[in-house]
């Protein structure tokens, strides 16, 4: 601004100076955030692409990608992964949709219990579930096979179940994937106006017909979206297939990528094998957005009221029994198996006072040297990631929800982009990016920190963005009219309203870090082991008792934090301001 103009309108210039200088600082912070976010994803992916497309001398080649098709040791795992993921998607939807309907729309007893148990299977780390099912249904040592032989007086090696098969993998995967479908469908049903079903009833439709013709079609987008989530999750999961497929002598694409980093490493091929996983994820997330984002399903708000619950009459208890039996598979049986393995000397022995022992607890807590270091690493990483991630998500989501800067769309894209990068692919990319100069992070906790931050950021960002959106801008504008600056408003108005959302986001990042395995398994070194990696290592050496103790400790911490998040988050819901 020239001095002449300033003289001409001194008042206006003064009036502008205050807020705009504040905005400039905010702008600089946002640009820094944007660059950091860009680097977070772009750098590993660039290296990934570079390695996939070059040979050892750095010359361009398509050979790595071509081998994905021609080499059956790569094509077969990809095929198996697709078969497993498709089955998991279908099974999850078939199991979760009816349970969600029972819980949201009928007078089935124990609906809250079912919700709690599903939350429990939601937060159970999948690799822990896989190990528990190993204890239960390994062909020889599995408890279920043991009982089966004992019941029918059969010789050893005869078995009912073999968990080390494609079918076993599909089963265990589905156990911990179906809650994703359940949450989406139950949410959709909870939010569906009761009028939709009442209108059908008053026209003469019996309850089952209303469920079939009205409720189901309206919930269909949520069911499809849930299937896609379950499919993607299963496709990109490392822990479960590593535990179940490797002993069964087959590979999925994620275990194959991991094995390409074992001696002798072949990073070029691993990078190439990551490409289809990455592309498929991006495409399917686009599809999911389209399915859920269709605005044709907009509904005019009225006095919707509580949905009337369908009376199941004499089907009430059978329905509950069905849900309960289904939930024994991800929760009841595995938790029992873990508990039993933790406190008995050997798995197969019957539970009695003589077989009770504390030796696993003692071993894990006092004798096994990696435990202490791993716990320490995990807590440090979890706290650091949760704090940084929440802060970053808070700043970026404020900028995008309020459209503060011109590039808010780009920021939004950068903050959500990591969703499309599977953990194992990110692990490969980070490994390639930070094992060489200028910045060598491999072997330090920093590389794990970057991995966790990248993986957990999108969920925290989306949660906080929706929290910002639920606070009407007029609440801020009212404050500004009284002369409060942006920072002051942040402190006096936004912070109290956002508190519960922020705490919840922090807790969920914390939990996410504690259970992450697929990126960590690519990036850890002897000094930077975390709990999930220690559990995975112990599984390789077959020490199920120690695993169970560690797993139960992990679960206890997780449940404590989920409980805390729900207490704090739940207490804040009533106060969320929303103009009529």
């Amino acid at each position: 601004m020239s001095s002449g103009e300033a003289l001409a309108t001194p008042g206006a210039a003064l009036a502008r100076a205050g807020p705009s200088s504040r905005l400039d600082i905010a702008g600089a912070v946002l640009v820094a955030c944007g660059l950091f976010l860009g680097l977070l994803v772009a750098l590993p992916l660039a290296w990934l692409a570079f390695f996939a497309l070059t040979d050892k001398d750095g010359a361009f080649t398509g050979a790595n990608l071509a081998r994905l098709v021609t080499d059956d040791s790569l094509a077969a795992p990809l095929r198996i992964s697709l078969i497993v993921a498709t089955s998991v998607g279908a099974i999850s939807a078939a199991v979760a949709a009816p349970i969600a309907w029972f819980v949201a729309r009928t007078d089935m007893p124990g609906r809250n219990l079912v919700r709690v148990l599903i939350t429990a299977s939601f937060v159970t780390p999948p690799f822990l579930g896989a190990i528990a099912w190993e204890i239960l249904a390994a062909p020889n040592s599995g408890l279920l096979n043991h009982w089966y032989r004992w019941l029918h007086d059969l010789p050893p090696f005869v078995h009912l179940f073999d968990i080390y098969t494609v079918a076993g993998l599909i089963f265990v995967d589905s156990c911990y994937a179906f809650p994703f479908v359940f949450v989406l469908v139950a949410n959709a049903l909870d939010r569906m106006p009761a009028d939709m079903e009442d209108a059908s009833a008053i026209l003469g439709a019996r309850p089952w017909r209303t469920a079939w013709r009205i409720t189901l079609p309206l919930a269909l987008p949520a069911i499809l979206a849930g299937m896609l989530v379950a499919f993607l999750r299963s496709l990109t999961l490392f822990g479960t297939p590593a535990i179940l497929a490797l002993p069964g002598n087959f590979h999925t694409i994620t275990t194959k990528i991991w094995s390409l980093f074992q001696y002798p490493p072949n990073p070029g091929l691993a990078a190439a094998a990551s490409i289809p996983l990455l592309l498929l994820t991006i495409v399917l997330l686009q599809v999911q957005n389209r399915v859920l984002g269709r605005r044709g399903y907009a509904v005019i708000a009225g006095k919707a009221g509580q949905a009337r619950l369908l009376r199941l009459k004499h089907w009430r208890w059978p329905a509950f029994g069905l849900c309960f039996l289904v939930l024994c598979l991800p929760i009841g049986l595995p938790y029992f198996a873990l508990l039993k393995a933790a406190i008995t000397t050997t798995i197969a022995e019957p539970l009695s006072l003589q077989t009770l022992t504390l030796k696993h607890v003692r071993f894990v807590l006092f004798e096994f040297s990696p435990t202490r270091l791993a716990f320490q690493n995990t807590v440090v990483l979890a706290v650091a990631t949760a704090t940084t991630g929440t802060a970053l998500a808070l700043v970026v989501s404020y900028a995008t929800a309020r459209r503060l800067v011109a590039g808010h769309r780009l920021l939004n894209f950068l903050a959500t982009a990591p969703i499309a990068v599977p953990g194992i692919v990110l692990g490969v990319g980070l490994f390639l990016a930070y094992t060489r100069g200028p910045v060598v992070l491999y072997g330090t906790l920093w590389i794990l920190f970057l991995a966790y931050l990248t993986i957990e950021l999108p969920a925290a960002y989306q949660q906080l963005q929706s929290a910002f959106r639920s606070i009407h801008p007029e609440l801020e504008e009212a404050g500004r009219l009284f002369g409060a600056g942006r920072m002051r408003i942040l402190r006096d108005i936004l912070a109290p309203l956002l508190k519960s959302g922020v705490i919840a986001a922090w807790c969920f990042i914390f939990i996410g870090v504690m259970r992450e395995l697929s990126a960590a398994v690519m990036l850890f070194t002897a000094q930077t082991k975390v709990i999930s990696v220690v559990i995975y290592d112990l599984n390789e050496s077959g020490d199920l008792g120690a695993i169970s103790v560690l797993g139960i400790a992990l679960l206890a911490v997780t449940f404590a934090i989920v409980y805390l998040a729900q207490r704090v988050g739940g207490a804040g819901i009533g106060r969320t301001a929303r103009p009529a």
Binding site: D198, A205, R213, K303
Partner: protein, 379 residues
């Protein structure tokens, strides 16, 4: 299911895929509510109401929000079960404390405040839904859908999805869906509250026109007295879960029985004073003879509408019902002038006066409250 059906004669032939109506509701649809109550968490929403709506009548449940009118409608529909009392339609018992016939067996249809059009079906499919449920042949369904869509002026929009319609079109589609099944009872829950003012006025007449054409017994819930005045044969004013007064629009307006009804329907002055005789009340230098109502106790309230108060620059010279006052405020409203007049003791009166009477605030003025327009109100 059979256990839920009321004791009414079943027709001899029940087709396999057919609709269960012929087993439950007789054709005459007089709606009766008998000492009907419903409370939520100890708080009565509907508090022992008695009401009879004759066959073919359009009745408006009118009242402020929270007065229990929507709960009453949902009790009639069977979405809500009564704590005590009965709902009878055409003499058949549909709801009581012991058994409530499910909504799908009631031969009713309903227009919801949110319209509740199913977003995954086109307008035509929405309208055809109820007809298909009745096992009607495809040809017949199409014929009836076409007919009702042309009556509601939606023929050109039959292939659209609800999300692609304007508010008024959605409202007509919801009405078409409800009318297509030829219900015995039609229920309307604030059907116009989501429309803008112009459309609302137009749709008021539309609903009345369709009712005159089909003559279904209709229960119409609204909080808008103009809507009730335009559409209803019978207005039922509700307050605090009870019925304050039921009658024709003219009856309700001209002969309000309670203070609530008088002030809720149209503007009115409520004047409270000392009882001198069964038909005479005194206040603030004013002795009011009332042609209507009877005073009980020592104090009573009198209602007189704004436009019934007469104003003049000269004394009226009547023995009672007149007084002198001062103009407090005068507003020019185009068709008339709106006056606020203070009497000697401070009592304030609102009155509409003709354009010709133009007195500035502060000038003295004479008021006359004709006995035939003064109504003594029940406490």
């Amino acid at each position: 299911m059979a256990g839920e059906l009321p004791d009414v004669p079943r027709s001899a032939t029940v087709r396999q895929r057919s609709f269960p109506f012929d087993r439950c509701i007789p054709l005459m649809a007089k709606v009766e509510l008998v000492r009907l109550s419903k409370s939520y968490g100890g708080q009565p929403a509907v508090d022992g109401i008695d009401l009879e709506i004759p066959d073919g009548v359009l009745a408006c449940l009118l009242g402020p929000s929270g007065c229990g009118k929507t709960t009453t409608l949902r009790l009639i529909a069977g979405f809500v079960e009564p704590d005590t009392g009965e709902v009878r339609v055409g003499g058949a018992l549909l709801s009581s404390r012991e058994r409530t016939l499910a909504p799908e067996f009631r031969r009713m249809s309903m227009v919801f405040q949110s319209y509740a059009l199913w977003p995954h079906m086109t307008v035509a499919e929405n309208v055809a839904y109820g007809l298909r449920l009745r096992g009607m042949p495809r040809e017949e369904v199409r014929r009836r859908v076409d007919a009702i869509l042309s009556v509601t002026r939606l023929s050109t929009l039959s292939g659209r999805y609800p999300g692609e319609l304007s508010g008024g079109q959605q409202q007509r589609a919801a009405l078409a869906r409800a009318l297509a099944v030829e219900p015995q009872t039609l229920l309307l829950d604030e059907p116009l509250s989501n429309l803008d003012a112009n459309l609302r006025e137009e749709m008021r007449f539309e609903i009345r026109r369709l009712h005159d054409a089909y003559r279904y017994t209709t229960v119409y819930v609204t909080h808008d007295q103009a809507e009730a005045m335009t559409a209803a044969d019978l207005i039922v004013v509700m307050n605090g879960g009870r019925i304050e007064q039921a009658g024709s629009p003219q009856d309700i307006y001209q002969h309000p029985r309670s203070r609530f009804v008088a002030s809720f329907i149209g503007g009115t002055n409520i004047l409270e004073g000392e009882v001198l005789a069964r038909d005479t009340v005194a206040l603030d230098g004013l002795v009011l003879r009332c042609r209507e109502g009877e005073a009980e106790g020592e104090r009573a309230a009198v209602s007189i509408r704004h436009h019934e108060v007469q104003l003049s620059g000269e004394p009226f010279g009547a023995e009672t019902n007149g007084a002198a006052g001062t103009v407090v405020r005068q507003i020019y409203l185009g068709a008339h002038r709106d006056y606020l007049v203070a009497l000697a003791g401070g009592t304030q009166l609102r009155a509409s006066a003709p354009m010709e009477l133009d007195l500035a605030p502060g000038t003295s003025i004479y008021v006359y409250l004709p006995p035939e327009n003064c109504r003594l109100l029940a406490a």
